[in-house]
C-alpha cells in the first residue's frame, strides 16, 4: 500500500520526477566515477606490482626504481649476498638504458632492459620465445611497428651515442626472437629486453657489473617485512621497497586525484541530496491537505513519514541505477584521458570498476535519499491537524 501511494504521487508529476531522476543519475554517475577513481589506481597499481610475484624492489640508496639514472655497483656480489638471505627465492637484476636500432637510413630508439630472461618480471612473451643466447632480444609491439622488424630478423643495435664523433657506441648484432608485453612501460613506449650481460657490455665500462634495480621474490611462507629488514641490513647500499612502501609512494604522488575524487564525490552526493530534498519539500508543501487528512483519519505519523521517505528513496534508487551505467561510460572516457599520462605504465587504470564501488555509490545515494525525505516529511506530518485543515480549506 505504502509503495503504491508513493508511486502514485511520483507518477502524478511525471516531468519533475523524471527530471529529478535524471539529476540523480548524473550525480550517481559522478559519484561512482569518483569512488572508482579514489580506489582504482591504487588497486590497479598493486595488481601491477604483484603481477609477477616480486614483492620487493631494491633501488640505489635513497631513490625509487628508475626514478633517477643512478645504478647499483658490484651487482654480482649483491646477488650472492641476497641468495644467502633466508626467505629470498628469486632475484631479478635489471639494468635500464636505451637501444638505438639502425633500420636502413633511420634509427629507432627504444627503452632497453637488461634482464636475466629466466628470472625476469618485466615482460610477458606474447609471440616467439624468450632470449636464450646473449645476442637475442625481445621487443614490444610499438617497437616492432616503429622499426618494421619481424621475428627472426637480425638487428644492428647500439647502446650509446658519442656526440663528439657523431657515431654509435656499443654496437652489436642482435636477433629478434620474441614479441613481448612490457608490464611497466607506458603506452606507445618502444621497448626491448635483452640479456643483462649483453646490455652491460654494450654500455661499456660505466655499466660493468651495475644494475638499476633488483626485483626480489620472497618465499610464500616468509614474512616480507622480515625479509626486507634482513636485506637492508645485509646490503646497506640499497633501498629496499616493499609493495606497501611503493603503494605509499604512489599514494603520495597521486594524492591529488584521491583528494579530487573525495571532493567531487562529496559534491555529487550533496547535489543529489539537495535535489531530492527540494523535490520532497515542494511535494510535501503541495500535499499538506492530503497529509493532514490522512493524519485526521487516524493514519500514524510514522506511516505518513515513511510514505514520503519512500518517494525520496525511489527517486534515488532509480536515478542511481541509471547513473551507474552512465558512470561506467564516463569512467571509460575519463580513464582514456588519464591513460595518456607521460611515463605511466599502460596497465594502470585510474578508474577500476569493482562491484564494491557500485554498492558504495548506491548505498550512499540511498542513505542520502532517506535523509532527504525525513525532515520535510516529519515537518509536514507534525503540523497541527485542526489548524492546517482549516488553512487548507480556506486556502
Amino acid at each position: 500500500m505504502l509503495f503504491r501511494l508513493a508511486w502514485a504521487t511520483l507518477s502524478r508529476h511525471r516531468s519533475r520526477t523524471l527530471l529529478a531522476m535524471l539529476g540523480v543519475a548524473v550525480s550517481a554517475a559522478m559519484l561512482l566515477d569518483m569512488v572508482m577513481l579514489s580506489s582504482g589506481m591504487r588497486a590497479s597499481f598493486k595488481d601491477l606490482l604483484l603481477s609477477r610475484g616480486f614483492q620487493l624492489r631494491l633501488a640505489p640508496k635513497g631513490t625509487l626504481p628508475f626514478d633517477t639514472d643512478a645504478t647499483i655497483g658490484d651487482a654480482s656480489d649483491i646477488v650472492r649476498v641476497l641468495r644467502s638471505i633466508d626467505g629470498v627465492t628469486t632475484i631479478s637484476p635489471v639494468l635500464g638504458g636505451q637501444l638505438h636500432v639502425v633500420r636502413g637510413d633511420r634509427t629507432v630508439t627504444a627503452t632497453a632492459l637488461g634482464v636475466i630472461p629466466a628470472a625476469q618480471g618485466d615482460y610477458e612473451i606474447t609471440q616467439g620465445r624468450t632470449p636464450a643466447a646473449p645476442n637475442e632480444l625481445v621487443a614490444s609491439d610499438d617497437f616492432l611497428a616503429a622499426s618494421g622488424a619481424k621475428l627472426g630478423d637480425t638487428l644492428v643495435a647500439a647502446a650509446g651515442y658519442d656526440p663528439q664523433l657523431r657515431s654509435f657506441t656499443g654496437r652489436r648484432t642482435l636477433t629478434l626472437v620474441g614479441r613481448a608485453h612490457f608490464l611497466y612501460m607506458s603506452a606507445e613506449q618502444k621497448s626491448v629486453a635483452l640479456p643483462l650481460e649483453t646490455l652491460q657490455a654494450m654500455q661499456g665500462a660505466a655499466s660493468r657489473d651495475r644494475v638499476s634495480l633488483f626485483m626480489v621474490r620472497a618465499a610464500p611462507s616468509a614474512n616480507v617485512d622480515s625479509v626486507l629488514k634482513r636485506i637492508e641490513t645485509a646490503v646497506p647500499r640499497v633501498t629496499a621497497i616493499s609493495t606497501e612502501t611503493a603503494m605509499r609512494q604512489v599514494d603520495e604522488r597521486l594524492s591529488y586525484f584521491r583528494q579530487l575524487a573525495l571532493i567531487l564525490g562529496a559534491v555529487s552526493l550533496a547535489v543529489g541530496f539537495l535535489l531530492v530534498t527540494t523535490l520532497v519539500t515542494v511535494s510535501v508543501n503541495e500535499r499538506l491537505g492530503e497529509i493532514i487528512v490522512m493524519r485526521a483519519i487516524g493514519v500514524a505519523k510514522q506511516r505518513v513519514v515513511l510514505q514520503i521517505v519512500l518517494e525520496g528513496i525511489a527517486i534515488m534508487i532509480v536515478g542511481a541505477v541509471a547513473g551507474l551505467g552512465l558512470g561506467l561510460v564516463t569512467a571509460r572516457y575519463l580513464n582514456s584521458i588519464l591513460a595518456s599520462f607521460p611515463g605511466l605504465p599502460a596497465a594502470i587504470d585510474f578508474f577500476l570498476f569493482e562491484p564494491r564501488d557500485a554498492w558504495t555509490a548506491l548505498g550512499l545515494l540511498t542513505g542520502a535519499g532517506i535523509l532527504a525525505g525525513i525532515y520535510p516529511s516529519w515537518r509536514g506530518a507534525s503540523l497541527p491537524i485542526a489548524i492546517t485543515l482549516r488553512e487548507e480549506a480556506v486556502g
Binding site: S15, L19, L22, G23, I337, F341, P342
Partner: protein
C-alpha cells in the same frame, strides 16, 4: 750552517702540507633545510654515495622552490653547487648535461643561434626553451583535459539541477499563475515575469556560487601548496571563468524558466487551480 738546515727543514715541511682550501659554498632547497634542520652558515658534508668520502661545504643560501608545474610531484631535495665542484665530486670530468643560452635580438637571433649550434661539429642539439616546456608540460595537458571533462559533466549536472529547481519553483506558483490568467494577464506577460524571476535566481545563485568558488579556491591553494610545498597556484578564479559561470547560469536559468512557464500557460487556468499538473 744549522740555521740554513733548519730553514730548509721548515720549508720542506710547509711544502709537504697540502694547500689549505677554504670550504666551498652551496645553496640548498628550503625544504631540505626545514626537514634536516640546516641553517645558513652550517657546514655539511656532500658525498657521492651514502657513507662515502665527501667534501665539507658551507650552506650560503636557501633556494625557494619555483612555481613550476613540472616539479610539483617531485619530492626530491636539490642542492645548488659550483659546477667544478659537482664535476669533481661525481667524477664527471669536464662534462655538462646541458647549456642554457640567452640570445639578444629576438626570435631571428635565436633561430640563427640554433642553426649555428646545430651545424657546429660538436654533436650538440639546440632546442628552444619553449619546445622543452611544451614537452615537460604534457602531464599538465592531460590533467587539463581531465579537468575539462569533469567540468562538462558538472555543467550537465548543474543544468539538470537548475531546470528541476525552476520547474518546481514555477510549479509551486501555479495558483498565482491561474489567478493572473483569470484576471486577463496575457500568457506572454506571465512567461516574461517567470523568466525575469528565473534570471534573478540564476544571477543571485551565480553570485553566491562565485563567492563559494573563490573561497574554495583559496582553500585549495592553501591546502595543495602545503601538501606539495610549492608556491604554485592550483586554482585561479579569473574574470573569464566568472563571466562564463554567470553567463552559463543565466542562459540555463532563462531556458529553464521559459520551459517551466510555457508548461503552465498552456494549461487551462481552472486546471491549474485544481493543482493537477504533469
Amino acid at each position: 750552517m744549522h740555521l740554513v738546515l733548519l730553514a730548509a727543514a721548515v720549508l720542506q715541511t710547509i711544502d709537504s702540507i697540502s694547500p689549505h682550501r677554504p670550504p666551498r659554498t652551496v645553496a640548498i632547497d628550503e625544504r631540505l633545510a626545514a626537514d634536516a634542520h640546516i641553517a645558513v652558515g652550517d657546514r655539511i658534508v656532500l658525498t657521492r654515495a651514502p657513507g662515502g668520502a665527501g667534501d665539507t661545504v658551507i650552506v650560503s643560501g636557501l633556494v625557494a622552490r619555483r612555481a613550476d608545474p613540472s616539479e610539483v610531484a617531485r619530492a626530491e631535495y636539490r642542492v645548488r653547487m659550483h659546477l667544478d665542484e659537482l664535476q669533481a665530486l661525481t667524477d664527471y670530468g669536464d662534462r655538462v648535461d646541458r647549456f642554457a643560452i640567452a640570445t639578444r635580438g629576438g626570435a631571428a637571433a635565436t633561430d640563427s643561434a640554433m642553426r649555428q649550434i646545430n651545424a657546429a661539429a660538436f654533436g650538440f642539439q639546440a632546442y628552444r626553451s619553449r619546445d622543452i616546456a611544451v614537452e615537460t608540460s604534457r602531464t599538465f595537458l592531460v590533467v587539463s583535459r581531465f579537468h575539462r571533462a569533469i567540468g562538462v559533466i558538472t555543467i550537465v549536472a548543474s543544468a539538470i539541477f537548475l531546470l528541476c529547481i525552476m520547474l518546481l519553483k514555477v510549479d509551486e506558483r501555479r495558483r498565482d499563475v491561474a489567478a493572473l490568467r483569470l484576471l486577463g494577464i496575457s500568457a506572454g506577460s506571465i512567461v516574461r515575469s517567470v523568466m525575469i524571476e528565473a534570471a534573478l535566481v540564476a544571477v543571485v545563485g551565480s553570485g553566491v556560487g562565485v563567492a563559494i568558488g573563490w573561497l574554495t579556491s583559496l582553500f585549495i591553494n592553501w591546502h595543495y601548496r602545503s601538501v606539495y610545498r610549492t608556491p604554485l597556484a592550483f586554482s585561479v578564479v579569473t574574470p573569464g571563468i566568472v563571466l562564463l559561470a554567470v553567463s552559463l547560469s543565466l542562459a540555463l536559468g532563462l531556458v529553464a524558466g521559459f520551459v517551466a512557464a510555457q508548461r503552465l500557460v498552456r494549461m487551462p487556468a481552472l486546471r491549474l487551480l485544481t493543482g493537477r499538473t504533469a
